[in-house]
Subunit: 228 residues, 2 copies
């Protein structure tokens, strides 16, 4: 194995963490590695960045090549630079993430990409992962939870119109904890982020529930509008 005296250069990869809510669980998209190191292990889709490409473009390209997922907005998460994170080399990874509706995408595998499978996995019940990918996913969850407290990011995981129960469920899945229903409703209804619609869920065995959507005016917050 190389020591640091032998490693001559930095290398850069990007890893792309994609979350969704599927089967009432928070899930993350993983690929199964065909080659060493960590052959047969699940990993976050990722790859080396080309010298001539921007980081954002690299993340989109690699996601598309490894999973066939494209047309989604990726946000840069964090750059991980522990010198020991990658066996035998100095590889820094710039991680990106996104929250999506799994119905919106179609997965497929390209074996020439060193991948044998691509699959959603429950975030709170992960298999052993390659590299420091468990740590990267944990960091993503932490970031998502922090932003949940202050920004209505849950909208990225929900359909355009949703009930308060569905909204609460998405928060509970991200936080991995049960919330008090009355307290939650009070907070989100006074938070000025929801638009109450004049529509209800279809009549079925349950009482119809009112539908809501996110208030775009609040979401596209201009500089300082909160205080003006």
């Amino acid at each position: 194995m190389s020591t640091f005296q032998e490693i001559k250069t930095h290398e850069i990869t990007t890893d792309v963490v994609i979350f969704t809510i599927k089967n009432n669980k928070l899930q993350v998209l993983l690929v199964k590695r065909a080659n060493e190191p960590f052959k047969g292990r699940w990993a976050i889709p990722g790859g080396f960045i080309r010298l001539s490409e921007n980081l954002d473009a690299a993340a989109l390209r690699i996601l598309k090549e490894k999973t066939n997922v494209d047309n989604i907005y990726l946000e840069q998460l964090y750059t991980f630079g522990d010198p020991l994170r990658y066996p035998g080399s100095r590889v820094i990874t710039c991680a990106y993430f996104a929250l999506i509706r799994s119905d919106d995408i179609k997965l497929s595998v390209d074996n020439s990409q060193g991948i044998t499978e691509v699959q959603w996995h429950e975030v709170y019940n992960l298999p052993t992962l390659a590299y420091d990918h468990k740590e990267i996913i944990e960091y993503s969850i932490k970031r998502m939870r922090e932003r949940l407290e202050f920004c209505p990011i849950a909208f990225q995981l929900l359909p355009e119109k949703f009930t308060l129960t569905e909204l609460q469920k998405s928060y509970e899945l991200i936080l991995d904890m049960k919330l008090d229903k009355r307290n939650f409703r009070k907070k989100v209804l006074t938070g000025a982020i929801l638009k109450e619609l004049n529509e209800y869920t279809k009549v079925g065995s349950k009482r119809p529930a009112r539908l809501y959507s996110f208030d775009n005016i609040t979401l596209n917050s201009k500089r300082g509008h909160f205080f003006s």
Copy 2:
């Protein structure tokens, strides 16, 4: 000048953006470059990361070497990877930032570090900078403003106890806009982030103003506490 065919490897730097409020202005710490490229230009303090060091440690080391500033908490901001950002090479920079009280630090220059001066500059009145550093500073301001809407980050720029006028001034400096005093006070006083103290500013020519501090219980927000 090298073309991309000639550039063989990635290189990684870190750049550290430090903001403060000084003389009633939002200011950023800059260094004057002794060497090419951009000799004589002001720049964000930065430098190359060593193969064996973690990114966070590199940022602290470089800040200390270039400016003598240490003992501050740096937060990773963003990794900039435009292939054309650094003349003649492929250099990706992982930027860090912090908001500090300028009284807390003592600047000094080490000429062996390729620096001739280190100085605070008004953020809204910058000289021409090296590389893409103007863009990096603009990104930092944008990030700071976004977080201001949702998190009480202004506390990092204020003394432990402050008046509502001082608090409003810090927001106005970060946002670069005047705010309505009554609306601002209403928002911050109902936002549950302030602790009203039983202390006032010293008696002088002005009417004494009540002092406040930030509510640590709210700041150290546990997971989901906002909803529980």
